[in-house]
Symmetry: D2
Subunit: 155 residues, 4 copies
């Protein structure tokens, strides 16, 4: 399965490189008439994990301030569904920054169930944009050093 | 069934008093593992119908303006589930103002499927509050006359 | 505020009567353009708490079995919004059975934030119905004694 | 923008190749505290369009039958967010089959707003699996000829 995922070169290395995770429990309202987790909710879990990660890095507060001139938006997102997920499963949703761009971050995701089975993998770029022009805004020095330092401390 | 719904005195009269409605089609992602519409989505449909109704009355734009000093919030909401609703059903969601308060509106809802069966009834008060203090703000004259006039024209 | 909620006689007594709760953290995807928790998600939280409660009582597994001849559906639901709830707030969502009917349960809800402020109250009846006829099915003796015993042990 | 999307070679050709679409209106409950459509709902719209497309091709009924031995699941999904989408925007969500595999379909998506601006592009594979083993099941001849014929008639 792993070799068919274009954003993962070596699956074991890729897995081992995660350290931050968020716990999620599958709600009944997140299932669908096929009896499993509806595919759209994978991205709800990814967003929850991503935002927890940003909060952990101390970045989220800045972006949520009303006086902030920038917000962070998703440029793209993708998910690979490795196995079906069901009501009441507990998932650890791992997040890491794969690449730091000038105005963007490439973020990777991995959801693992209670039995250690890989359920979902994913990735997506977020971009910092101006609230006013909508155009990309480069990360400032402080944000970059925060990101590098705090990510390092997770390892 | 109707006589057990506390906010409906005479079911036939109550039904006949609606004139505005919004069409909704049940999405697969809105079903759950019991194979029917998840109960929480009744309120998604009510909100969609309520906002369409406010747009129709010309009120929504005002509340969405960034410079507006008020927003409108739900004070309470309730729904009675008369029959199960399934994937791909088309519902007409009717809305009416049942009562105009000083700072609030009591709004009633009725969802009817394609075969004319009553599926959901509901009601709830919305309140106009200050964005800053969070306290209720009385409707102004213009809004009241708009509301009375335009609602009358729906009959 | 409390005196305007029809299903609560004495607010303090009503609050003290809860013992089971579920923890919920407000997701960013559950907010709306007014910057707060969208009203529809109160019912998502109520369902999560209700199902956790049923699981705790050992009832949920029965209803989810494919060979079960009954499911449990919501007959009605209501929520009173006492204060706005925002992104990242942690809520304790309390649940209790207020009344045991022949085929139904009247369930009450209370959501309290981290600072001990009451945010949401609610109630709603669930009904056990036949998967085939859709008609109400009385609780059996085992379920009733389970419910009475285990609820008592929560006090 | 187009050249950065890996699954689109020639953007104009890619756009011109769509013919089937579904209309979606952005609900208030689908926005988030950043004031725009929450990213997770792109996939809700893709699913709605995909299922409408399958219904149009006469395939959906088969998969929803209780006696069906197969269901169709998403193997992967991705979305590129070309521009922010806001409350009340009307989107045409286009769908096409890009590639027919042995047990899978590669499906592409394009969401265009009322002013003709491209908002979202996407793709994802669905796979037919056995309800019992969870393993991929090849399309049968009838389904393949249905798919080829009806898709051709859309052009």
């Amino acid at each position: 399965m792993a070799k068919t995922i274009p954003y993962i070169k070596n699956f074991n290395e890729w897995v081992n490189d995660f350290s931050f995770s968020t716990e999620v429990k599958v709600r009944f309202s997140e299932t669908d008439a096929f009896g499993h987790l509806n595919n759209t909710n994978a991205f709800v879990y990814f967003e929850e994990a991503r935002i927890d990660f940003f909060k952990h890095l101390g970045l989220m507060d800045e972006w949520l301030k009303e006086e902030s001139s920038t917000i962070v938006v998703t440029a793209d997102l993708q998910c690979n569904y490795l196995r079906q997920v069901f009501f009441d499963e507990k998932l650890s949703v791992y997040v890491k920054v794969n690449y730091i761009g000038n105005t963007s971050l490439d973020i990777h995701y991995l959801a693992v169930n209670n039995e250690g089975s890989y359920c979902l993998t994913g990735r997506g770029a977020i971009v910092q944009i101006s609230k006013f022009s909508g155009k990309p805004v480069p990360w400032n020095e402080e944000m970059l050093s925060d990101l590098n330092e705090k990510q390092a401390s997770l390892q």
